[in-house]
């Protein structure tokens, strides 16, 4: 994940990151979700299970939780995370410009 953040910074996209270490969620997680308008939930499953928990347990609006899902059976790469973020951010930037 740190490698992906470095790659994205080189692309001109600076991202704050939070790692979830435990469930039930602590207050810090709710605060982080509240402080940010767009959140990429990076997971290694098909159904965005952590995203669902964030929505049901601490009422984070689903619209601001963007899925970044890797489920090909292999460990996630930094390139995958970068690609998932760019796919969302670049069209939005282009539209804004």
């Amino acid at each position: 994940m740190l490698e992906a953040l470095d790659l994205l910074e080189r692309d001109g996209i600076k991202i704050n990151a939070l790692r979830i270490k435990a469930f039930p969620f602590g207050k810090e997680i709710a605060a982080f979700c509240e402080d940010h308008d767009t959140l990429f939930v990076v997971e290694q499953n098909r159904d965005a299970q952590m995203r669902s928990l964030l929505m049901t347990e601490i009422d984070v609006p689903g619209g601001k939780l963007i899925r970044a899902l890797n489920y090909d059976g292999m460990p996630m790469t930094a390139a995958f995370v970068r690609g998932a973020v760019l796919k969302e951010v670049r069209p939005a930037k282009a539209a804004a410009e």
């Binding site: 270490k21 469930f23 039930p24 997971e43 290694q44 499953n45 928990l53 489920y71 059976g73 460990p75």
Partner: protein, 393 residues
């Protein structure tokens, strides 16, 4: 040269270099077993030429791997050179991508998450491990056994731990919960399909407030899934494992160092919160060797055992019983699974094994009677409800 590898890949950054390894081995060795065994080493040899890997470093690794079988070193090096020569003669070696010695791993260690978690359980003071084999969690129980054999024995060889390979996952978690109920730090290790089977018992531990630790080394799913592929897809099934309103405590380690630290911390949390705690590792972290931070442990750490009743407190309870004249102190004082049944745990444990057995059987019979009474009450309730419904019509 015939190969089953696809020639067209979905990615444009993959180049295929064909090496007729089977053919090279068939020409070199007449023994079919050798032809088969040395294939991998021929491949490794070709890689040393393609990526400019130091052959001396490789030889050191081979010598280390074949300790006690020194005769095989020369034969393996012969296979390495066979692949190396072929690559040198047929490709532009080395390729632009090369392997270089670096200092990035300085101060770090190489360990798998399951090995580290097994050691974490030892540091946490776990004395009961009940498990049923399932890839990719098996090596965790094996690591615990390996370390316990070294670190959990008295000078005269007495083992201070118990490991039970149960008949199935249900029994495994049941034994671990039993261990937790009796005051031992107990755990089990499993994977997704095991969690499914353990879910009913997890509900018991959750309701009865019994501390127990589960290590879920997640693998690809659904169903029995793929035991050689990694995934993190048991999050919801573990968060709400079991029926009814349950919410389990989950810890998410990100590397083997955290498998060690969170693995140890899980036992403190389980006892403080009096509930099951599930450590959510996965196949990649658990089974693969990672270069990671050295495992850290504070020797001044005191295990958090939550609220513990010691002998002096129990004596105090006896006074309470005497003062009120009621025989109900135990059901309110202890968060015990027997709290809802009219079963009393004797204030003093019976002295002999036979007496303990008799007491236990008596308690079980009483629990059975309690369940029977409950069933009769339910049936009566049902009949009354049906009558009321008919009369209403």
């Amino acid at each position: 040269m015939i190969s089953t590898l696809p020639r067209v890949w979905p990615r444009d950054d993959i180049n295929v270099l064909g090496i007729p390894i089977a053919q090279l081995c068939a020409q070199k060795w007449s023994d079919p077993r050798q032809r088969q065994l040395f294939k991998n080493m021929v491949y490794v040899g070709a890689l040393t030429a393609l990526f400019d890997i130091d052959v001396d470093v490789l030889k050191t690794a081979i010598v280390d791997q074949l300790k006690g079988k020194e005769k095989l070193v020369a034969a393996n090096m012969e296979a390495v050179n066979l692949g190396r020569d072929f690559a040198g003669q047929n490709f532009h070696c080395p390729l632009p991508v090369r392997v270089r010695a670096a200092q990035c791993a300085k101060g770090k260690i190489m360990v798998s998450g399951n090995d580290a978690a097994g050691l974490g359980a030892i540091y946490a003071g776990a004395t009961v491990c009940a498990w049923y084999p399932i890839t990719p969690s098996t090596s965790l129980a094996e690591a615990y056994e390996k370390y316990a054999r070294r670190l959990r024995v008295t000078k005269d060889g007495k083992r201070l731990y118990g490991i039970v390979q149960a008949e199935d996952e249900l029994a495994a978690v049941g034994i671990a919960i039993g261990g937790g109920w009796n005051g031992a730090r107990a755990f089990t290790a499993t994977s997704g399909p095991g969690i499914s089977l353990m879910s009913e018992f997890l509900g018991l531990a959750y309701f009865a407030e019994v501390p127990v630790v589960l290590f879920n080394i997640q693998r690809g799913g659904p169903s029995t899934g793929m035991p050689t592929r990694t995934q993190q897809s048991d999050i919801i099934s573990c968060a709400y494992a079991s029926h009814g309103d349950t919410k389990q405590v989950l810890l998410f380690p990100a590397n083997p160092s955290e498998c060690f630290s969170m693995g140890a911390q899980a036992f403190d949390l389980a006892e403080r919160l009096q509930t099951p705690v599930i450590v959510m590792s996965d196949l990649d972290i658990g089974m693969n060797e990672w270069v990671t931070e050295p495992l850290a442990w504070n020797d001044a750490h005191v295990h958090d055992r939550g609220k513990v009743l010691d002998a002096a407190t129990l004596e105090g309870f006896k006074d309470l019983k005497g003062a009120t004249g009621a025989d109900t102190w135990m059901s309110t004082a202890m968060p015990s699974p027997t709290a809802r049944c009219p079963v009393r745990i004797p204030a003093r444990a019976p002295s002999s094994r036979a007496a303990r057995h008799t007491t236990r059987m008596h308690a079980i019979r009483k629990m059975g009677a309690c369940m029977l009474v409950s069933s009769i009450a339910s049936a009566a309730n049902l009949i009354l409800r049906q009558r009321w419904y008919r009369n209403r019509k």
